[in-house]
């Protein structure tokens, strides 16, 4: 199914979860990505930043809740920043059954990858295309 026909037929959109050590970073990057979508469909995006007590860190429970909240049945792309954010998502994917089926950790730069993922998802693209667009953000050089 092409992206356009996917949208027209009301196929569910890919969800995006943004995991950062900082709640403010995760929420702001989510806002930025949503703002750059323009006229596309409204992508389910959730931020999972910091710990449940509001400190810097990573919360498996916040990640799981975020992934469930954006799961429409088309898969969930998870982008992370550093260290424990990456390791926690990997551990949840490898060890547990808490994350929805079709949840994938995307290897991408956090900010650029989030924008690429959300914009691509807004076109009705599937998970593989969303993942590819986010990863491709690594190839954009700044000098």
């Amino acid at each position: 199914m092409s992206d356009d026909s996917r949208l027209r037929s009301g196929e569910p959109l890919v969800g995006v979860v943004l995991v950062s050590h900082s709640a403010a970073v995760a929420a702001s990057v989510a806002d930025l990505a949503r703002a750059l979508v323009g006229g596309g469909a409204t992508v389910p995006v959730a931020a999972a930043g910091g710990t449940r007590s509001g400190e810097l860190g990573t919360s498996a429970e916040l990640i799981t809740a975020a992934a469930r909240s954006v799961d429409r049945g088309a898969g969930v792309a998870v982008l992370t920043d550093l260290g424990s954010a990456v390791l926690t998502v990997k551990a949840l994917l490898a060890e547990g059954d808490e994350l929805p089926d079709g949840t994938r950790l995307v290897d991408a730069p956090f900010v650029e990858g989030a924008v690429a993922a959300v914009v691509t998802a807004s076109t009705g693209a599937g998970l593989a295309a969303v993942e590819a667009a986010a990863s491709e953000a690594y190839t954009y050089r700044k000098t």
């Binding site: 860190g57 498996a60 260290g83 424990s84 390791l87 926690t88 990997k90 060890e95």
Partner: protein, 199 residues
Amino acid sequence: MLDADFFRRWMTATAVSVGREAERLTALDSPIGDADHGSNLRRGFDAVADAVAKEVPETPGAVLVLAGSRLISTVGGASGPLYGTLLRRTGKALGDAAEVSPAQFTEALRVGVDAVMALGGAAPGDKTMIDALVPAVDALAESFAAARVAAEQGAVATTPLRARKGRASYLGERSIGHQDPGATSSALLIAALAETAGE
């Protein structure tokens, strides 16, 4: 043979030890990390001790799978998924036997340590928990006491190493001269194991 009670006592002993040493772990984590290893791990193992006391899992494997799950969900730092994976994979490797031999446990722990290396990408000599755990598993074939000594020596031997994984790796040469906090807490885990075995 080692039964579920042995593994529950191991987890409780680890919580006591991590609680006692939390300030030292955090102090070790200050120059080369983000100064939260002791408090993170104390929160995690306190949750583990609570969970095994309340749920009283009935097999060695179930104790470790529960403990690992609690660590992943409560720690909030990289040590959560790393220790969580260590215990869960070890627990899964033990299956649902009601009792396991020390040799079976040794092989299961090796599976757990391999999973930690796969998750974090660390190898021996990278100045991580692996530098205490790998020698401990090797020595476990001999005795729990030998594993304890091997883990402690492995932790001390991280001091001259340059960190190649985690936040400490950003410091490059400046990570040299500090004992690795993760290797130190791994030595506490193995020491608690030997203590539980009465060695």
